[in-house]
Amino acid sequence: MTMLEENLVPSPTPGTVTERPPQQPAGTKALTMAAALNAALRDALTEDPDVVVFGEDIGALGGVFRVTDGLAAEFGDGRVWDCPAAESGIVGTAIGMAEYGMRPVVEMQFDAFAYPAFQQIASHLAKMGSRTKGRMRLPVVVRIPYAGGIGGVEHHSDSSEAYWTATPGLTVVTPSNPSDAYSMLREAIASDDPVIFLEPKSRYWASESVELPVHTLPMTKARVVRTGEDVTLIAYGSGVKVALEAAEAGAAEDLSVEVVDLRSLSPFDDETVCASVRKTGRAAVIHEAAGFGSFGAEVAARVTEREFFSLEAPILRITGFDIPFPAAKLEQYNLPSAERVLAALDTWVW
């Protein structure tokens, strides 16, 4: 890790989420995703004495994104603590704690900082359940703030999801809004399987009116966040906002766009996605990660396998370019935008 993150807490991104989970109770308060995650950790720590939270700068500082704000003071050093700045050590010791019956929730601080932990995650965390014939489960949640859009310097904006989804044994989820963030993190902590919990950085400050505790869909289910007839945009994390913007702009041009928020990347909710594609006959998948060998490739392949005869056009991938994530002042050219999404849809013969 670098020490740069000290200067990196960005100013809150203006704007609120336009997507709304279906049933929103009245008389609620505005909550950012960061605050929703904080509340989920607090409630889990309160309800289950085996839940512990540790990582780098998650104590007194409250995390570089303030997701753990106030938890160390409230729960004490035996439940929430700062640890040495070594990610393999963080995940490795979390594995040992889980072997003794705890439910550790660890933070990787930034996407690219999780790479030193890759061996612990790929060779142990993902495999222990299978290795031991289910005798030793590892209920560990690895929280990873990921993706760009916040003006981060190098190593602070990677989209690493395909590394994790390519690893059997992991559950990989990513919320796109505050209520899902709360509900999915609670479910991830309660899960007996290891969960890679990807938090889209650019959505940390998006707020929504939520009454807690909120239980949305099960974390492994995708959600149709906007219904439409002509095309299905398949997105997750920060891509959901882009897809909804594209849908809104498309509506002005008489294009009816359905948007599916995957929420879970592994397992993949084939049922919800395929039902949408059967209805629209066209699909595009959106993500920030480079397109080659990407999660979008898996989406395109599996939907094509299942829905070839429903499809009127090839499935498109609207992704970051096949380049290392750019420097802050150039990231806008790499990130998929609503304009780029609509331009891509225009390449189809309609």
Partner: protein, 356 residues
Amino acid sequence: MGPIQLIDEHGARAGDEAAAGFEMPSAEVLLGIYRQMTLARRFDIQVTKLTRQGRLATYAPGLGQEACEIAPIAALQPQDWFFPSHRDAIGMLARGVPPQGVLAFFRGDWHSDFDPKQYRVAPLSVPLASHLLHAVGLAHAARLKGDPVVALTFLGDGASSAGDAHEAFNFASTWQAPTVFVLQNNQYAISVPLSRQTHARSFADRAVGYDMPGHLVDGNDPAAVYAVVAHAVERARAGGGPSLIEGVTYRIEAHTNSDDPTRYRSSDEVEAWRARDPIARLETYLRGAGVLDDEFAQHVAGEAEELASSTRDLMNAEPQLDPLELFDHVYAAERPALIEQRAALERELAEAGGQR
């Protein structure tokens, strides 16, 4: 100062200076270690033979390292945990894991096939030093819960170079986690000699940088290994934090059956280390002390033959494997994709005439 020694290479009691204040373990403890070392050696030789015969996919022998493998296990309480690496099959055996559980990995039946919680033994770990962190985490968790549990873990001179070794030492020290690291310096990481692994005089010296005790021990002296590890274990249990113990020993056998040690070391070197055999040393000492007689030795030898025989039977029998089980343990939660894939394999097997 040389390695701590309680019994010298000739089986005589070492001098006070070599003992460095550590006391000779009781006769009862030493007889127990002698028995386990003898069983371990017979098992190790038998499994190495079976591997050469093709009954196992591979095996990493512990021959010559029995003092470092067995004596630390003898220093544990039932509630303590052991985190083995790939060369610690005989340590697992000494901890009570049955031969089938120890050997499932090496035969290729399953990556691990025993209940870790029953024996308080983690599955053996191949990626170098990665398991040390698991030991530290478990030890810290036990401490947070107020349980008097110590985690013991083994690594080799090769694993000492991996970054996880440093991270484990540092996390253990920072958290004062009740962990005991036993580094078996067996002089080779497969073919790479110690001189190409480190420039340091001793691995035990590293402990200074973590503010934990570091002990350099004659790794072929089971009495010294036991005394030093037992001290570290009880220190950790009492809240004193982790320790690093280096046992200087030698891998008499090849790395595994696919290795050819004649390409990188001399037979003179091997023979010189054979002369420092840890079991013969302990036997000489115990006989000299009038504690071990022919009757006991013969009884243990008989037990060892029984273990070898049952291990042969076990490994010569065809394993009962169910390919459909491949899907059953990957996740605790149900996965639709795996249910489909399981069904697909089941159909494939049925079409092949029910042959599994």
